[in-house]
Amino acid sequence: MTTVSGERLAAIFVEVADTLVDEFDLLDFLHMLTERAASLVEASAVGLMLADQRGRLEFMAGTNENVRLVELFQLQNQEGPCLESFRTGEPVINVDLTAAADRWPLFAPRATAAGFLSVHAFPLRLRERVIGAMNVFGNTRGRLLTGNDVPIMQALADVATIGLLQERAIRRGEVLTEQLQGALNSRIVIEQAKGAVAQARATSVDDAFDIIRRYARSHNYRLVDLAHVIVTDFASVPDLYRP
């Protein structure tokens, strides 16, 4: 195994961090990650899986079609290094696939048939939370991870994990902000409509609200939708402004 130069390593980490701040595209990011991981340790292929909300792994990215099929095979059969690493939160290192039939009776023969001879898996983990795993395949027997290879690959997986979790937190925040502001808009527009109807009918705002509610019920309107019509196109609901 060749030793990775510090410069090259730094460049890859900067690239990963950079992708996280730019316009973030999840699949693009994961593809970039698998490609850089593969180039770092001269792996034949790298595949990456992320857990969905129910904690089930899904294939997300791979450096080629071959690895995609092998990864899907793991998922179908619920057996293999990625699943193992995901379940334990620990890396799986330097497993000779030609001698792994006991460990993975279905997966090992399938992977060797696809031309892979060795495999490693790294959990995407932040503290106690595991959100996925990255599989690294080699096609030459004896090409093993040595020295700093393991901590470097794990560090790459860690950086990706932090980025993914941050991105999810931001996405959640954006969705909730949108909902909150939407709810606020609904609340406000109803008050505005109450004012409009109260003025037009010369009633109190409470009576105006009753009028609006009755109208919404009898015309099968959602209250909020009717309120919108009142404040933007009052003329279209003459029953509401004429007693």
């Binding site: 925040g173 954006e174 709810a183 008050e191 505005q192 004012g195 009052f234």
Partner: protein
Amino acid sequence: MVADGDRASARAAAIRSLIAGAPGAPGHVGLLGRVCLVAARELAALGAAVTVLTGDGLRGLSAASDPVIERLEELQFTLGEGPCIDAIESRRPVLIADLSGPAMSRWPAYAPAVREGGVGAVFAFPLQVGAARLGMLDVFRRQPGPLSEAELEIALHLADATVEGLLDRQEEEGRRGDTDGLAWDVGNRAQLYQAQGMVMIQLGIALDEALVRMRAYAFAEDRRLDDVARDIVNRTLRFDLDTP
């Protein structure tokens, strides 16, 4: 770095418990009110105000540590200029340690008006998540002078805690299926929106223009917008008859 991170999260937790422990009503407006009280106290400020914007950039919810501060906050929306508006547009804090400096030409209407209200420095913090802008937290101090590094940290934690508090509440309501906001207590702003609807009909104008008219009236008469709204709803003030 780890030690720094631990210290920061301990500070964030301390701020959250200060907010939780402050007096105030439950509900959204209550949360904002507690944030204002903590901000005013912890930052040795004249007062603080929080505004949550609607999707259209209107002041949807708001709270202030007292009525004078509420008026200073509202003034920015009347005049369409000020540090908080800049903070939300630029997505970063706007820290004006001395309102008598270049701020006077940056906000020619707003800066003199708040100085008249006894404010020497304004610090505005956007409440935001990723690309979404939720609102702002504004801190008003009597004496000119910058926030210390520790105070700045507190202010940023306060802004974060406000966003978290609002979003957690939203998530909870989403889980209960209560997402239309109908049950929300929007505080005294309910009256403001009712008045807006009434003025719209009185003058036969669009809704947003109705609010502009009300703000202009409040400014010209040197009255609080909330009081003007109350008079409109009580029908002691009519825009189709009384306004110049």
